[in-house]
């Protein structure tokens, strides 16, 4: 008979809490920076020069066709050979931004491309500069259109941050590893942490669906 002992694991709640906090912080920073990188790259892919377009295209394909864990290992273990030594947390954020940026680029680009032509002509006739047109006419409705896809991608990167424990960042999944090795309650630790991730994913989606229309692409 299998006996479960969830209490033993829950007794280590301060560790779980610290892990949760780091996961949330990593996700928050990467989501903001990743969305910015993605938007910049989307702009570059549509309006940049031919070389810039190529470079951004290569970046996107490179990220989308290699696993996140390899990107993380490359940044954390590989880059120091080039003299770039990063702390664990910085390496995690860098890898997450690098990863999210590429996916966000494609998502935002799809939104930008679906701008009706009349909107651009109207902006032109109002003598808006290209920069104003992009910032006030094209971008907000584009973000509104692709918001669900972008939110899903941010959730994917939040779940992906579990891999950061592999370079010993003390986030949620690493907390599970540590608790498992302390209490020998492997299955229980991972069940609890998995449940926390599930709740976090659901909560994050609700939060972003609430935040988006109010603060990010609100119509003033």
């Amino acid at each position: 008979m299998i006996e479960f002992s969830f209490g033993t694991v829950l007794a280590q709640w301060p560790m779980l809490l610290r892990g949760l906090v780091l996961t949330v912080v990593l996700t928050a920073i990467s989501a903001v920076l990743g969305a910015l990188v993605g938007t910049a790259c989307a702009w570059a892919r549509l309006h940049g020069g031919p070389i810039l377009k190529r470079v951004v295209g290569a970046y996107v394909e490179l990220v989308r066709n290699t696993p996140f864990i390899v990107q993380l290992f490359f940044i954390f273990f590989g880059l120091p050979s080039l003299g770039l030594r990063l702390s664990v947390e910085v390496a995690c954020v860098l890898a997450m931004v690098f990863n999210l940026g590429a996916y966000a680029c494609e998502i935002v680009r799809a939104g930008l491309q679906s701008t009706p032509k009349g909107q651009l002509e109207a902006a032109l006739s109002l003598a808006l500069t290209p920069w104003q047109t992009f910032l006030y006419v094209v971008l907000p409705p584009a973000l509104a259109r692709i918001w669900p896809a972008l939110v899903s991608q941010i959730i994917i990167i939040m779940l992906g941050s579990a891999v950061c424990g592999q370079i010993s960042a003390e986030e949620l999944s690493q907390a599970a590893n540590l608790i498992a090795s302390r209490t020998f309650r492997n299955f229980e630790s991972y069940i609890i942490v998995t449940a926390i991730y599930l709740l976090l994913a659901i909560a994050l989606r609700q939060l972003l669906y609430w935040v988006g229309p109010r603060f990010i692409f609100s119509r003033r």
Partner: protein, 214 residues
């Protein structure tokens, strides 16, 4: 000290690449079969069943694959099964793929116009006949591109099997890195090999999608 030539490193990684490919194929075909079964359950009129499938999908899409791997690895052991990393990784990735494929294909089935359901119901086809002769053939056309695209995600997912000690490409890269003290080189090669495996699939998926929309 033993010296490793570039060819030694590359050869070792190529050998490990076979395991990445094998694990991906197991997960894709296993997940495809299970996913098809779940898809059929998803569209039955039985309320509880459809909801259960929806939760199954939500659980796999809302939790990290890494945690799923650990759970299966230690869960199978609790059940008293002999868990090799290969068995655990195959089981987990199959379940993972089945959840995602069900969800992808659900979208494709929903893309079939409602009139097709009504017409086939009015012809007194049973649910199985309806699916077999009317709905799935039409959904299939829509589903090819996203399914090929998902294969890329499976291949990238197999990289996490390295964490439970399965020696595939990523684990081989770690071993090379530890043996040669050249992480930059090792992970560059590993990344390159994943790219070589995934990029053609991405490209193909994109082309299928463009052609369907054209």
């Amino acid at each position: 000290m033993v010296q490793f030539s570039l060819w030694d490193i590359f050869g070792f990684l190529l050998g490990a690449l076979r395991w990445t490919a094998a694990l991906s194929l197991i997960a894709f075909f296993g997940g495809g079969l299970a996913g098809l079964g779940l898809l059929l359950l998803r569209f039955t009129k039985l309320r509880g069943v459809a909801t259960a499938v929806a939760w199954y999908v939500q659980i796999f899409q809302g939790t990290p694959l890494l945690m799923q791997l650990f759970l299966v690895y230690f869960g199978l052991a609790l059940l008293g099964m002999d868990t090799s990393p290969l068995v655990a990784a195959s089981t987990c990735l199959t379940l993972y793929a089945s959840a995602y494929l069900t969800e992808i294909w659900r979208g494709c089935v929903n893309a079939v116009p409602k009139g097709q359901w009504e017409a086939s119901t009015s012809l007194a086809l049973t649910y199985t006949q309806q699916m077999r002769y009317v709905i799935l053939p039409q959904a299939l056309r829509v589903s090819i591109a996203p399914t090929v695209g998902f294969m890329v995600q499976i291949i990238k997912g197999t990289a996490l099997a390295s964490v439970i000690g399965f020696v595939e490409l990523t684990k081989a890269g770690q071993m090379i890195s530890n043996a040669t003290y050249q992480p930059f080189l090792a992970y560059s090669f590993v990344g390159l090999l994943y790219f070589v495996l995934c990029y053609p699939l991405s490209w193909w998926s994109q082309r299928l999608e463009n052609r369907r929309l054209a």
